[in-house]
């Protein structure tokens, strides 16, 4: 499925005066898949055929990302994103769901599990941000008001592309990279990505560190061992701090573990959720 085909699957919800684009496919126990930066819901496109035959798969684009609202007048922090997910699920009539988060989506998932615990039936963090593991240097640069602002969107994408590639153990197909970066290839998209990067804030995970021991949802931590952005030591720490956590270390995988070792991760995830 290319990114344009994926786009046609997206529905829309208005949440607190912002709009959220999301995919909602399949029936069964709900599973929410959260992407990170600089990606969007398309990150999970290969998971639709894996999960949707037996589960209701919900994949939102976080605020400011993908094809959700990209206006310049709202908070894009992971704290706000968690509030948005909570309100969005409420609107859909979903009391609780399995929450799977990657990168900053992992940070959003952790905030949901600690601050909105009733919303989370099961928690899965994949190479997610936590503690003081973030923002990585590249994202700090991206969020600097002057660094990329005057660069054309095309030039910014050209610079981001090799950095994004570093998150993969083996180079993904061009179509996947094109798709992941597509929403940011316009000036508005580029500016939105800069604002998203500027909103990255370590304090929003460190402040919930004392709450991790209170997470009651069964938790799966899946981590690409060779991730340079979010080293595996953070996964080990999460597995220690969260009482019902199981850690799965995935070999020959970097940051984008769900793409690098799709089949192996699929086995773990389908068993867990």
């Amino acid at each position: 499925m290319n990114w344009r085909e994926y786009q046609t699957l997206q529905k829309v919800a208005e949440v607190d005066e912002r709009f959220v684009s999301y995919v909602d496919e399949g029936e069964g126990a709900p599973v929410v898949l959260l992407h990170g930066i600089p990606t969007w819901g398309y990150l999970w496109h290969r998971w639709l055929p894996v999960l949707s035959p037996t589960r209701r798969v919900l994949i939102p684009d976080l605020l400011g990302f993908g094809y959700s609202d990209k206006n310049d007048t709202f908070d894009r922090s992971i704290a706000r994103q968690a509030e948005m997910i909570d309100a969005w699920l409420e609107q859909l009539g979903i009391e609780h769901a399995s929450i799977v988060g990657h990168d900053i989506g992992g940070g959003v998932a952790l905030r949901l599990a600690t601050i909105f615990p009733d919303r989370v039936s099961r928690l899965c963090v994949m190479n997610g941000v936590c503690y003081d593991s973030w923002p990585v240097e590249l994202m700090l640069q991206l969020g600097h008001p002057e660094a990329y602002r005057k660069m054309s969107a095309g030039a910014a994408i050209t610079m981001l592309r090799p950095a994004l590639k570093m998150g993969f153990a083996s180079s993904p197909a061009d179509g996947v990279l094109d798709g992941l970066l597509a929403p940011y290839a316009t000036e508005v998209g580029k500016l939105s990505l800069i604002r998203n990067a500027a909103a990255l804030n370590t304090n929003l995970t460190t402040e919930i560190t004392p709450l991790l021991s209170g997470i009651t949802a069964p938790t799966l931590i899946v981590w690409g061992e060779d991730d340079k952005f979010q080293p595996v030591k953070y996964a080990e720490r999460l597995a220690t701090d969260i009482p019902e956590a199981t850690l799965v270390r995935v070999r020959d995988a970097r940051h984008f573990v769900m793409i690098d070792q799709h089949d192996e991760v699929a086995r773990h995830l389908t068993t867990f959720v």
């Binding site: 046609t8 997206q10 529905k11 829309v12 709009f19 094809y67 990209k70 316009t186 000036e187 508005v188």
Partner: protein, 297 residues
């Protein structure tokens, strides 16, 4: 370029210094998320553009101006109702979110284009020695400045796109309209290439009809009449342009071309809006201005 071998519109991200400030002011005063092609084209006259904007901004920031633009929008929708319906949305496979966003993008241009026509008419008139002296009985209350919170961002695809489908549509537009630069509206709708292609193919034959041309001409005349009764005198003359060393003939030629193209654009956006919205809703401004308790100046 806009009908000239010399002029290159200046994109928002390329603006710096005084121009960057003017662009910011335009977004605030015009209540819009981006800077339309009119302004980006005028900005190529780098020394005169700040003078031109300064001459019209007081009017643009009034309730009188907003209400005059509302009048043009209503006239466009009323006229568009007599034209064949487009039925693009039902012809193109679109997702729910895509349809929602197209509606939001159309609302942006349905709102701003009548304001642009009014402003362009005012500039062209004073440069043609047809003075706008100001009518102080008009509603001179100042509009709240700033972009409406729910307005869609003016997101645009690159004109030199490598998407073959989109490139074909843009090339056809350039040829049909006799322009080099694609209007912001179409570049935004280019985010959904199949929608834009279908819309354009349906608009082309309608745009060739006598009814359509009559409606466009009527909007142009109405804009001139409405500009004449704007509240503040527009202090701008050819001498202002030549005194900063710029070609006044070139500026007026470009302005006339913009004024010539805008009525058709307004009708097209009205037709596309009517495709997914009831006529009554189409006649309402998509972004009503909150009333203020300010005494007239």
């Amino acid at each position: 370029m806009f009908g000239s071998s010399r002029l290159q519109p200046i994109e928002e991200h390329d603006a710096s210094g005084e121009l960057e400030n003017v662009y910011h002011d335009i977004r605030q005063v015009m209540r819009v998320t981006g800077v339309n092609l009119n302004f980006r084209t005028w900005a190529a006259f780098e020394r005169s553009f700040p003078l031109v904007w300064a001459a019209v901004r007081d009017n643009a920031g009034t309730y009188a101006f907003e209400h005059a633009a509302d009048h043009l929008r209503i006239a466009a929708v009323q006229g568009a109702l007599a034209l064949p319906p487009l039925q693009v949305l039902s012809a193109v496979p679109l997702g729910e979110s895509q349809t929602y966003q197209i509606g939001a993008a159309l609302a942006l241009y349905h709102y701003i284009n009548p304001k642009l026509l009014l402003l362009t008419a005012a500039i062209r008139m004073v440069l043609d020695n047809d003075p706008i002296n100001g009518r102080l009985s008009a509603d001179v209350r100042k509009l709240p400045r700033g972009v409406p919170a729910r307005m869609y961002p003016m997101e645009m695809v690159d004109e030199s796109t490598d998407d073959p489908h989109l490139k074909q549509t843009f090339d056809d537009m350039r040829q049909t309209l006799g322009v080099e630069s694609i209007h912001s509206d179409y570049r935004t709708l280019g985010l959904w290439p199949y929608y834009l292609a279908s819309a354009w193919q349906r608009l082309k034959p309608i745009a060739a009809s006598a009814e359509y041309r009559g409606l466009a001409e009527s909007l142009r005349v109405q804009a001139t009449d409405l500009a004449r009764i704007l509240p503040y005198r527009v202090k701008l003359a050819r001498l202002d342009l030549t005194s900063v060393g710029e070609d006044d003939d070139d500026f007026i030629r470009v302005t006339r071309q913009l004024e010539h193209l805008l009525p058709g654009l307004i009708v097209n956006i009205a037709l596309l809006t009517l495709d997914g919205t009831s006529p009554d809703l189409c006649m309402d401004t998509p972004f009503p201005v909150p009333e203020r308790d300010e005494e007239p100046a």
